[in-house]
């Protein structure tokens, strides 16, 4: 499997990251994402700066990638199309360290404390921070921003609401002090706060727009860059914020963020040096880029399980034997490999490759039935299960719903053929536009479908909660298992690695028994940059997909 060694190669840092995410660090300079067993505090040990010795000031970076979004409200969206062009204009309460990537460090909060019971987080904001319109940052802005995320008004969507389900309230306890009150501990709360979308907006902006900024292209942030101009769907130009609270930053005079379709168009612009930093190029351009002097590449990892989803509300997929049989006959390695030249992926299972537990999980299961390439024994077992379920003659006329996404269109016929060949399951592929797919999926108008969803952080409490928990945000296909739901809830509370691991294993056992879906891949995203672009740390970014797009420590060497 191509790409897999990259993930494995990250194992040390991944484990380290997760350990630091889960273990309280009372004396750390920058607090990790842990729920502490005892009261802890963290503070600013110095302002962020580029990792290189003598970064240069000036220049306009040309960033290219997906930047044409259908809405502008960062709290309501979940796509790179927003992060690329908008993230540089905003700050977070805390952030993932863009130099070392393995810890959460101060941002607008210069320090914080966590109560002994892990139920109260108190953040102390920096003094003198100003929004781009000149207004000072106050605790009320932070409260309004998180109320927007946690308690959105009707008609406002909050994709990361579930990440903060334990937060019962956010209150300003002083002009520059904010408290988060939790109903139960959350080991990943800081990491969740540091997810790139959770930017701090101005209370007045939110109120003036009824807490809905979907169609507001420009609203003030406190970030290192200010809005300069916008040609929707073409380019957004940002300029340096001269009043940025970190006086040495940003190094760049500006960023021109070009909207280019993911893949070949970004790749072409990259190879021709029409852009300096190329977000999400295709593997063919990536291969060419590796041969070009001055052009560098690396791969980063979103948290996104992809595979085959059943409509569990319909026969025969309410019968676990049918699902198990289908799982046994699909050669997932072959399916994943089919798109490597177009859409690179690594194998995934119930635990994602970006999750630190993957390193322990995957070697254990990859040769097990259902995960390995089907053996004669697996095929015989699959046929036996189908017979037992009363489908020894197979199935006919299944509605195989597929979104018109290139790699889904490649996977579809392969899956269709494997099912027909091994189990006499005949399906008709129905290709629909994305907008149609979401409607059809939600209405249950399908039998099977290829699907993938993105999570915010690499923690089962996030991606199991969204995809497999009863009523989860992406659980459109009707999976419900109260025992599994209880485990997901417990993983969110648990911060001790050994106990968390035990819970994850219990969850895996249930998912193996139920086979609510057939997961086979997690995408990897090829990135490229010309050697004049410094300070971005893409090569060591790894699993920090949604972070590192604020660009304040990026600089141009020439």
């Amino acid at each position: 499997m191509q790409g897999q060694p990259h993930v494995c190669g990250l194992s040390g840092s991944l484990v380290l990251l997760f350990v630091t995410l889960l273990i309280a660090c009372s004396s750390a300079v920058a607090q990790t994402a842990a729920a502490p067993p005892a009261a802890s505090e963290a503070s600013d040990a110095g302002l962020l700066m580029a990792p290189e010795a003598s970064p240069k000031r000036g220049g306009v970076l040309r960033w290219g990638g997906l930047a044409n979004s259908t809405l502008y409200d960062l709290h309501q969206t979940g796509t790179i199309a927003n992060m690329g062009p908008q993230a540089p204009m905003y700050d977070l309460l805390v952030q993932v360290d863009p130099v070392h990537w393995d810890k959460v460090i101060p941002d607008l909060a210069k320090s914080w404390t966590i109560s002994e019971d892990g139920l109260t987080y108190t953040f102390f904001l920096r003094e003198g921070v100003k929004f781009h319109d000149g207004a000072p940052l106050t605790a009320e802005d932070v409260v309004a921003s998180f109320n927007h995320i946690l308690f959105p008004p009707p008609g406002v969507l909050s994709p990361r609401q579930g990440l903060f389900d334990a937060v019962k309230e956010v209150v300003a306890t002083g002009p520059l002090t904010v408290e988060f009150h939790l109903t139960e501990p959350r080991g990943f709360l800081l990491r969740g706060l540091a997810a790139g979308f959770n930017v701090i907006m101005r209370k007045q902006t939110l109120e003036e727009n009824n807490y809905d900024l979907r169609r507001v292209p420009v609203y003030p942030g406190t970030g290192p860059f200010r809005h300069k101009s916008l040609e929707p769907g073409v380019v957004r130009r940002l300029e340096r914020n001269p009043d940025y609270w970190n006086p040495g930053l940003p190094y760049l005079d500006g960023i021109d963020i070009y909207h280019l379709d993911v893949g070949p168009k970004t790749g072409a612009a990259c190879l021709a040096h029409s852009i300096d930093y190329c977000f999400a190029i295709d593997p063919i351009s990536e291969g060419k880029a590796k041969k070009i002097k001055g052009l560098h590449t690396a791969r980063i990892y979103p948290h996104a399980p992809h595979g085959l989803w059943f409509n569990l509300m319909k026969k025969p997929f309410d019968d676990v034997r049918v699902r198990k049989a289908m799982n046994l006959v699909l050669d997932k390695a072959a399916i994943a490999d089919a798109t490597q030249e177009m859409f690179p992926v690594v194998r995934a299972g119930w635990v994602l490759p970006t999750d630190p537990f993957f390193q322990e999980y995957w070697p254990r299961v990859q040769e097990q039935p259902g995960w390995r390439s089907p053996t004669a024994e697996d095929l015989a077992e699959a046929r036996r299960l189908m017979q037992e379920a009363g489908y020894e003659n197979g199935l006919k006329g299944l509605d195989f719903l597929i979104r018109d996404i290139s790699f889904y269109l490649t996977w579809g016929p392969i899956v269709q053929d494997m099912l027909k060949r091994e189990l006499k399951i005949e399906s008709t592929i129905r290709v629909v536009a994305s907008g149609v797919w979401w409607e059809e999926a939600k209405r249950g108008n399908f039998d099977i479908s290829i699907y993938g969803y993105g999570a915010t952080i690499p923690h089962v409490a996030d991606y199991w909660n969204a995809g497999f928990k009863t009523g989860g945000g992406y659980n459109f296909y009707g999976y419900a298992n109260p025992a599994f739901d209880a485990i997901v809830a417990a993983t969110a509370r648990e911060s001790e690695p050994a106990k968390l691991k035990a819970l994850i294993n219990q969850g895996i056992t249930i998912l193996d028994q139920d086979v609510p879906a057939i997961v086979w891949a997690n995408p990897v995203v090829p990135m490229a940059w010309w050697d004049n672009v410094q300070g971005h740390g893409t090569a060591t970014r790894g699993i920090n997909f949604w972070e590192g797009m604020r660009d304040e420590i990026w600089w141009l060497a020439k």
């Binding site: 040609e231 929707p232 070009y258 280019l260 612009a269 629909v432 907008g435 459109f476």
Partner: protein, 317 residues
């Protein structure tokens, strides 16, 4: 003549109203839902009450007749509505992206005449010679090659062999002519060559018919130079169908920009239309289709008017 023009303009109003009805209905019966497109993978999470609010915000909760009436009102007041997604108005979009598309269209038409008419003349005057065969081969070739394929080949060829790609973004002619031409030449060339093939064939067949007419023989018998015979007498009379065809081809060219701008990644109206269509941005699609309809109607009117100028025997009342 003025009465004729007024009558034609008035007659075009029902035609354009027909266009508005067709595109409005087509978008509404098309499968898919703008709210789902707006939120992408998050769409499966939308609660019914949130959906109702979002649809109301987008103006989609009103009865269809009300939505249609509102659109007509927007057209009448020149507002043309707001993009569902981008916060800007359709007028902003036209101002921002229109110049590139107009430039491509004009360059393509000019190119089609500059290439197509001389090739057609030579082909007709040297009928069944090697020159004629070569000209006919290339005209058939450019008729057969799909625009998107030729565009993709040019883009790939320049990238792979010259490491070249056109500048990104909207750069207008008056801002930076050199960079602007780098953006528009490719699409204009692809569209121009395709249309020039039609023009060349029409010119050839028209001329072949006319140069056999008695008055051409008379002109030659009077001792006129061949150049004057061809350009002044034959071509002028052969140009009526060429002009008619050009009017029709301009419509083809507009639809061609939709494909070619995509291939060359030119941020013109054609590309905007594709993006809006994919994202079910009704306001943008409706108004761009209407705009293309208006251009088509106006162009055909101009073609008809030009007949009277080219052929004094034609009078409009």
């Amino acid at each position: 003549m003025s009465t004729y023009i007024v009558r034609r303009v008035l007659l075009s109003i029902p035609a354009l109203l027909g266009v508005t009805i067709v595109i409005f209905v087509a978008l509404r019966v098309m499968p898919g839902d703008p709210v789902s497109v707006m939120f992408g993978t998050q769409a499966t999470k939308i609660r019914p009450e949130d959906r109702a609010k979002i649809e109301a915000d987008l103006g989609l909760s009103s009865p269809l007749i009300v939505q249609y009436g509102k659109w007509l009102h927007d057209i009448a007041t020149g507002k043309l509505g707001r993009s569902f997604w981008r916060g800007d108005t359709v007028v902003d979009l036209l101002v921002q992206r229109g110049p590139l598309t107009v430039e491509i269209a004009v360059m393509a038409i000019v190119l089609s005449w500059v290439v197509g008419v001389p090739v057609g003349i030579l082909s007709a005057l040297r009928q069944n010679t090697l020159l004629d065969y070569v000209a006919r081969f290339f005209t058939v070739l450019f008729l057969a090659i799909p625009n998107f394929w030729l565009g993709a080949m040019i883009v790939l060829g320049l990238l792979l062999w010259q490491d070249y790609a056109p500048p990104l973004g909207v750069i207008n002619l008056w801002d930076d002519p050199i960079q602007n031409l780098q953006i528009v030449w490719g699409p204009a060339l692809v569209l121009g060559l395709a249309i020039s093939a039609y023009i060349a064939r029409m010119t050839r067949s028209g001329l072949l018919e006319i140069i056999r007419e008695d008055y051409i023989r008379t002109a030659r018998a009077k001792g006129l130079r061949e150049q004057a015979v061809v350009l002044k007498h034959a071509l002028r009379n052969a140009s009526l169908p060429i002009i008619t065809l050009s009017g029709v081809l301009f419509g083809l060219l507009l639809s061609g920009t939709v494909v070619v701008e995509q291939a060359f990644n030119v941020p013109g109206l054609g590309k905007a239309m594709v993006e809006a269509f994919v994202m079910l941005d009704y306001a943008v699609v409706q108004n761009l289709v209407l705009l293309y309809g208006v251009v088509f109607v106006v162009l055909n009117l101009l073609v008809d008017i030009s007949y009277a100028w080219l052929d004094p025997r034609i009078h409009y009342t």
